[in-house]
């Protein structure tokens, strides 16, 4: 029996304080009725003093690497979704670049089931566009869409669907089941051996450059393809000012394109590479301050629809080495909301309602995820996150719930703290702590002691 929760004096979407009752898996009551309902509540009512705290719909990540199956040494579905819950997420999209690849109904169903068993968040597997991410033959997209996992987002993320014919076919084919192709925009020939953003810093420190045009050229091609075949397109982790311009132009033409930016591209620049610490090695690479300014502006004005983490856990041995030998990627599930608060809310660019839009409503809509990203209203599924924007904390990667420590924000003080996360009315996080089930041996074994 799940407990009931009364959130006292909470601010839904950052608005006026009120009371919210979570019961029966739903938002059961709001306002004075919530208190009344709580009066005759059973013993298991838990009252949370949420004075000053903000209530948002549970966050939805459209871009998460959970690494299972294949790289359970870096992350598992259980550890990754536990980290997601700690970061305020109630649904994540598990990227397809696992081993074996999520390119068949069997693999996506396995990921989906493991996610459901773990119980921290809903897990929506992303299906590979091409068999083995090789960019040659379409994977069985229909089988994945019709599987128990009900895949709607397809991506070869980590690799670009660079063959224009294959991209066209994929865009057309997924229309049959209202799917979307999420493109990792990276022209492969322009980025052979590339290590970081090509510019002033790469010239000086001698790392092979990843030019902005390698991203922008693919986005430009893809929006034109999407227009031609009347499909919807999602652009993963857009990172340059030019990309923002292209998406803005495409939207002005009525092209059905959506775009995401990662938290790290909102806050970090290529200057970080100067110390050759591979924790800052990521794909797409950290760009310039002008690019950071442009993606912030694009996020604020709606050109960029969502923030997605691109949470990419890696083992120590994959990062504890020289830059060129290191893996691309950084963790982000447990810091994403704080980075958005710091860069967008605390700077006055966005409201908390906007945060709900870019971290919940829009990603749920793009991924066709039901029951998430909903309004905070009586009768809605209680997928919620309670945030205290006044608290501040220093990022300590070793103390995070993710199994990997490759956070680029180590030692930085960030605003905001996830106090509680509710998945269909069940608290997955309370008082900032993931609510492990002591009876479950999987958690007893891998428990992180604070």
């Amino acid at each position: 029996m799940t407990a009931q929760y009364l959130l006292k004096d909470v601010r839904p979407l950052g608005g006026e304080p009120t009371d919210v009752l979570v019961a029966g898996g739903l938002v059961a009551a709001i306002g004075p009725e919530a208190g009344d309902a709580a009066e005759n509540a059973p013993d298991d009512l838990e009252v949370i003093d949420a004075t000053g705290m903000v209530l948002l719909p549970g966050l939805v990540d459209l871009h998460t690497h959970l690494r299972e199956p294949g790289r359970e040494d870096a992350e598992t579905i259980a550890s990754g979704t536990r980290a997601a819950a700690a970061g305020g997420f109630t649904a994540v999209h598990a990227m397809a670049n696992t081993t074996p690849t999520q390119d068949t109904a069997g693999v996506v169903e396995q990921v989906w089931r493991l996610g459901a068993q773990a119980g921290w968040t809903d897990v929506h597997p992303v299906g590979a566009v091409s068999v083995g991410l090789a960019g040659e033959h379409l994977a069985e997209l229909g089988a994945m869409a019709d599987s128990a996992a009900r895949v709607r987002v397809f991506s070869d993320d980590g690799k670009c669907v660079h063959d224009p014919v294959l991209m066209r076919r994929a865009l057309e084919y997924v229309k049959a089941f209202d799917g979307v192709v999420a493109q990792h925009a990276q022209e492969p020939r322009l980025t052979e051996g590339a290590q970081m953003h090509e510019g002033v810093v790469s010239a000086e420190i001698g790392l092979a450059g990843w030019p902005a045009v390698a991203e922008e050229a693919i986005i430009a091609r893809d929006v034109l393809l999407a227009e031609h075949v009347g499909s919807r397109l999602h652009v993963c982790h857009l990172s340059t000012a030019g990309s923002v311009e292209i998406v803005r132009w495409a939207k002005s033409r009525g092209i059905d394109v959506t775009a995401e930016v990662t938290p790290h591209h909102l806050v970090l620049t290529d200057e970080e590479a100067r110390g050759y610490d591979p924790v800052f090695k990521v794909n797409p690479p950290l760009r310039t301050q002008a690019d950071v300014d442009a993606v912030r502006e694009g996020l604020a004005d709606g050109t960029i629809d969502i923030v997605a983490t691109d949470h990419a856990p890696h083992t120590r041995e994959d990062k504890d080495c020289e830059w060129a030998a290191a893996a691309f990627g950084m963790t982000g599930l447990e810091t994403a909301l704080s980075v958005v608060q710091q860069t967008m809310v605390d700077t006055g660019r966005m409201t908390w309602a906007d945060v709900a839009r870019v971290l919940s409503t829009n990603p749920a809509r793009i991924g066709r995820v039901e029951g998430h990203g909903r309004p905070i209203a009586v009768g809605e599924p209680a997928n919620l996150v309670l945030v205290d924007p006044e608290q501040r904390r220093v990022v300590e990667p070793e103390r995070q719930a993710t199994a990997s420590a490759n956070s680029p924000l180590r030692g930085r003080e960030l605003p905001g703290r996830v106090v509680a996360t509710f998945l269909r009315g069940r608290a997955t996080v309370l008082d900032g702590v993931p609510q492990d089930d002591p009876a479950d041996p999987r958690f007893a074994a891998g428990r992180v002691t604070p």
Binding site: S202, G206, L207, G209, Y276, E317, C321, E322, W323, A324
Partner: protein, 349 residues
């Protein structure tokens, strides 16, 4: 000076200090007995992840002339060249008591990582990392230029001088060249004017803020009468599609950017020609130019030993941390004293 990773880390005083120390070292190398006892009992490891017989031998010679124990660790082609292994190698060398690690690595930043990751206490000398830096090459180039162009009667090595007012043209594959990067930083610090000359494909995007002028036309720059012309090695493979297709053909490269007898003749009489080696004779430099009296390429090699002796001495002698100029007596066998080398050095062991 704790490590030598990049010439960008050297200010004018520190750079001149290295060059002046090198001059003192060079003076000892004319003697019959070249060996100094300065680093007796210290261990220098040459850790080479990339082939470079010349640089390794130069460092080895330098360390041995200072009486250090030298261990050569060649990791080329083994599994040591990637991943965690750099860390394990460093831990191993640390455990063996290396005092200095001279590292050559194909990955830019590997010496920086070795110096700062906490794996070893040893002083780290960058002997060339990827496309980043090759500081001892730039120091020996500056030493050579200073000697030829600022030295005079009574001060043949130009001791104490910087390179103010001199114009140095650096010609060739700047994009992939750690030699170019180190030279731009150091020559600028020493007051020289630098002009980079290359086809646009072999210049980095982002070269704009470098303290150097950029030209695509060698003949125009030679017409300005540079005091020194530094030719960079160009790899023939860069021409092919697999190598990046940076220029149409070796012949076209030679026509536009090669230093031949005709171009050599347009230079002022005092101008010198440098090349870090190994040369591609007939590609970036013709035999006429390479063997001409104004080519100081062989002398660069000799100066390399003196400069590397100076670097190892300054890093390991213990007074490097103070940042002060070396006391006269602290430097072994100062130029004016052609005595056996054993007289002064014991204090530093």
């Amino acid at each position: 000076m704790r490590h030598l990773l990049s010439t960008a880390d050297l200010d004018r005083a520190a750079a001149i200090r290295v060059l002046d120390t090198a001059a003192q070292m060079a003076a000892t190398q004319g003697r019959q007995i070249k060996k100094l006892p300065t680093l007796r009992g210290r261990t220098v490891v040459n850790l080479f992840f990339e082939d470079s017989t010349r640089t390794r031998i130069s460092f080895e010679t330098a360390a041995k002339r200072l009486s250090a124990d030298v261990i050569n660790f060649s990791a080329k082609g083994s599994s040591v060249s990637k991943g965690e292994s750099l860390k394990d190698t460093a831990l191993t060398l640390q455990a063996m008591g290396a005092d200095a690690i001279v590292i050559r690595h194909q990955a830019s930043g590997a010496p920086h990582t070795l110096a700062h990751a906490g794996w070893t206490e040893a002083a780290v000398v960058n002997a060339g990392d990827g496309m980043h830096q090759h500081p001892t090459q730039a120091l020996l180039d500056a030493f050579t230029i200073r000697r030829h162009l600022t030295g005079g009667p009574g001060n043949p090595d130009g001791v104490g001088n910087d390179l103010a007012g001199l114009h140095v043209a650096v010609v060739g594959d700047v994009l992939h060249s750690r030699v170019a990067r180190s030279n731009v930083d150091l020559l600028h610090t020493l007051g020289a004017k630098v002009t980079l000359v290359a086809p646009p494909t072999l210049l980095p995007v982002g070269v704009g803020p470098w303290p150097a002028a950029v030209s695509y036309r060698l003949d125009d720059v030679l017409a300005q009468g540079p005091d020194a012309v530094m030719m960079l090695r160009v790899q023939r493979e860069r021409m092919s599609t697999a190598g990046g297709g940076f220029f149409p053909s070796p012949l076209e490269y030679t026509r536009l950017y090669g230093l031949d007898a005709r171009r050599l003749a347009t230079l002022p009489d005092h101008s010198i020609v440098l090349h870090p080696g190994p040369m591609n004779r007939g590609l970036e430099i013709s035999a006429d130019a390479a063997d001409s009296p104004r080519a100081v390429i062989v002398e660069q090699v000799a100066n390399g030993v003196a400069v590397r002796m100076a670097v190892l001495y300054l890093l390991l002698s213990g007074d490097g941390d103070t940042g002060a100029a070396p006391a006269t007596g602290a430097v072994p066998a100062v130029t004016s004293t052609p005595a056996p080398a054993t007289t002064t050095a014991g204090a530093t062991a």
